[in-house]
Amino acid sequence: MPKAKIDAGSGAEPAVTPAQDEDFALHSLQEALAADRRYTPNKEELLNLYEQMVLIRRFEERAGQLYGLGLIGGFCHLYIGQEAVAVGLQSALDSNRDSVITGYRDHGHMLAYGIDPKVIMAELTGREAGISRGKGGSMHMFSVEHKFYGGHGIVGAQVSLGAGLAFAHKYREDGGVAMAYFGDGAANQGQVYESFNMAALWKLPIIFVIENNGYAMGTAVKRGSAETHFYRRGTAFRIPGMQVDGMDVLEVRKAAEVALEYVRAGNGPVLMELNTYRYRGHSMSDPAKYRSREEVQDVREKRDPIEHVKQDLAALGVDEAALKEIDKRVRAQVAESADFAENSPEPEPSELYTDVLVERY
């Protein structure tokens, strides 16, 4: 096949159309997004996005507090700062048919899915009423009912598993799309590329979402990644990439719509890089000494996703009082979930042996 690009030195107008340019598919989605970056919500939609983001933030702050009190144990990875990613993407999904899978930083995705904060918080405190009956913990939560498939503790595993969910959508021809979230750290795992290859080869309906929060635990992206523009990482497999401001929920939403349209049309996978930031350490036991307080403060002041939505709401004529009302409601909801999580009983000792296997042999 002749190379589609013309000689850059000729100075002529590009002589190729998108159809002739074999690289076009790889950047066409990015171009579609660049042409129209932000979703235009009505007031009610935007208030709803705001409320979900505030719920995640308040929930995570409370989880951090309960961890500090010893009520939550083990590893606990908070989503504070990244709220716009899960909220924006989930808002574009069709909850009746699309499936979602993520890694261990999963509380925010579950809340964005509308899963009851009480059962999430009760799982964090290891109680019978928790969504995994207290046997999973922070990193291992699932809601098959909501097509939320976890909640996985092994870095990168959710990418192959997500490709499997996409395989099931295609096999059943149910029109669903799988969304697999992973971080900039997981993006260096080998199985991610094995999955890219098969997903592209078989045109699986999947959106790979890299939440680039800048740090793989304590390793800054530039110290761990030869190609720091993660949206380009699918190019070798002919997977189109998109680079998205993950701190702007409306851009995230718009990007999700562009990607979903492409994937649902049967074109195979899309890779999205969402540039975001986590305010807290990697997990609760990480004091985050690898970055300066000024760096964190700077993001909080200039890029905070919730403040961003507040400005958009003000532009739509929403006043402070309406936001205070939401904040109050969310606080009450989070306080209620914390009380529930603290006061629910631990699992019965007999639960030790349940659900090891489904069947008895």
Partner: protein, 453 residues
């Protein structure tokens, strides 16, 4: 309502720390996310952030205080509309977090007992056909794929090539490329895709060209497939079969010659099956595909071509978790599985000539292990040898011996002896390979030993 700010823990093990520095003072307005103080332990420093909005009322623990117990009230926050100066705290006290042992020590729960089961009767007059293990496995997959359209087969060379060992011969032709799927050489990836598809409601049969290559994928078999049902409180299942040849083949060297039975049998949440003959291969693979649990199904390349009697039944399904008495005997029990069963039967024939009547048990399922059948046989013969084609250390043989010690000690007239491969990586040279692998004479010798003959 005033909010008490308590000394936080930096880690699950922290009990006390130093309140290094206050970054706010009494009367300051704070909003959530503001850093209030710095806490130090010998290991780390952490910033203590406000969760709630309000005004700092009283600071109860001065900065620089060492040994502040986790949970101690260190300051009080006045909420909206409250007079911060009027807020007083209840006496500072340390609140113990509810520890797991806080509840009265409950009686240790009993593990559920296995269900009683036996092989279905083969009706009198059933035609027995001669089938290779290879054909029996293929027929099992074919029948289950006809029965349930959620079942599909995926692996390297399973479709167009008809299977690296021809176990999937003819499947592509009958079921098409949608259900018989060739993968790139990428075990970790396709094991993950299969596992994800099972989570998503399908019934994958994932073929590894050999189980040696499944080590690249073992994370998904164990961390993703085996643990999900438990971690999700029974909510998310993973009905998948990982199958392929396992154990030593012939002259393929150390990296292609290992029995992974003990590896997988170690993991709760998995079912592990290792059949010997054609009837068990078919009946147990069908059961494995129907199971709602993840199954590791270990075949043996050297046995694929062997022919056995196979009952011609419409639906030949055998119970998982049930050992099979291959040969009844009264003097000694030889326990084995997979290719070792053939050697054990040969040994039993030879021993019969010497006047030793050996019972041979094929475990068939390695997890859950049929202890009852093993112990019942021990109670009858009082002597046991375990024959296993695999490394001796931490093996299935080790497990059988432990079971006999724990639950059958009074029935033992001699120590249980294991006959395994030598404890070395499998060598290539023909003579060395022969020396390394289990064989019939070694089993015969071990039986004589436990019979004091």
């Amino acid at each position: 309502m005033a909010i008490e700010l308590k000394m936080p823990a930096l880690s699950p093990t922290m009990e006390e720390g130093k309140l290094a520095r206050w970054l706010v003072k009494e009367g300051d307005e704070v909003k959530s996310g503001d850093i209030l103080a710095e806490i130090e332990t010998d290991k780390a420093t952490m910033e203590f952030e406000a969760v709630d909005e309000g005004t700092i009322g009283k600071i109860l623990v001065a900065e620089g205080t060492e040994g502040v117990k986790v949970g101690t009230v260190i300051a009080v926050l006045a909420g909206e509309g409250e007079d911060a100066s009027a807020v007083s705290a209840s006496a500072p006290k340390a609140e113990a977090a509810p520890a797991a042992d806080a509840a009265p020590a409950a009686a240790r729960p009993e593990a559920p007992a296995p269900v009683a089961k036996k092989d279905p009767e083969v009706p009198h007059g059933t035609n027995m056909k001669i089938s290779t293990v290879r054909e029996a496995l293929r027929d099992a997959m074919t029948e289950e794929m006809r029965r349930d359209d959620r079942v599909f087969v995926m692996g390297e060379e399973v479709a167009e090539y008809q299977g690296a060992y021809k176990v999937t011969q003819g499947l592509l032709e009958e079921f098409g490329a949608q259900r018989v799927i060739d993968t790139p050489i990428t075990e970790y990836g396709f094991a993950g895709i299969g596992t994800g598809a099972a989570m998503g409601g399908l019934r994958p049969v994932i073929e590894f060209m050999t189980f040696n290559f499944a080590m690249q994928a073992i994370d998904h078999i164990i961390n993703s497939a085996a643990k999900t049902n438990y971690m999700s409180g029974g909510q998310m299942r993973c009905p998948i079969v990982f199958r392929g040849p396992n154990g030593a083949a012939a002259r393929v060297g150390a990296q292609h010659s290992q029995n992974y039975g003990p590896w997988y049998a170690n993991v709760p949440g998995l079912v592990v099956i290792a059949p010997y003959d054609a009837s068990d291969a078919k009946g147990l693979l069908k059961a494995a595909i129907r199971s709602d649990d993840p199954v590791v199904f270990l075949e043996n390349e050297l046995v694929y071509g062997r022919s056995f009697e196979l009952p011609e039944l419409d639906d030949h399904v055998l119970p998982i978790g049930k050992a099979r008495i291959m040969r009844e005997g009264k003097d000694v029990t030889i326990v084995s599985y997979s290719i070792g069963v053939g050697l054990a039967l040969e040994a039993a024939e030879q021993l019969a000539g010497e006047g030793i009547d050996a019972e041979v048990i094929d475990l068939r399922t390695l997890r859950p292990l049929d202890k009852e059948t093993v112990l019942a046989s021990l109670a009858k013969t009082n002597r046991m040898v375990v024959a296993e084609e695999g490394f001796p250390v931490c093996s299935i043989a080790s497990e059988i011996i432990a079971i006999c010690m724990e639950d059958g000690f009074d029935n033992l007239d001699a120590p249980v002896v294991r006959v395994c491969n030598e404890d070395v990586p499998l060598p290539y040279a023909a003579n060395l390979e022969k020396l390394a692998l289990i064989d019939t004479p070694r089993i015969v010798e071990a039986v004589r030993k436990v019979c004091y003959r």
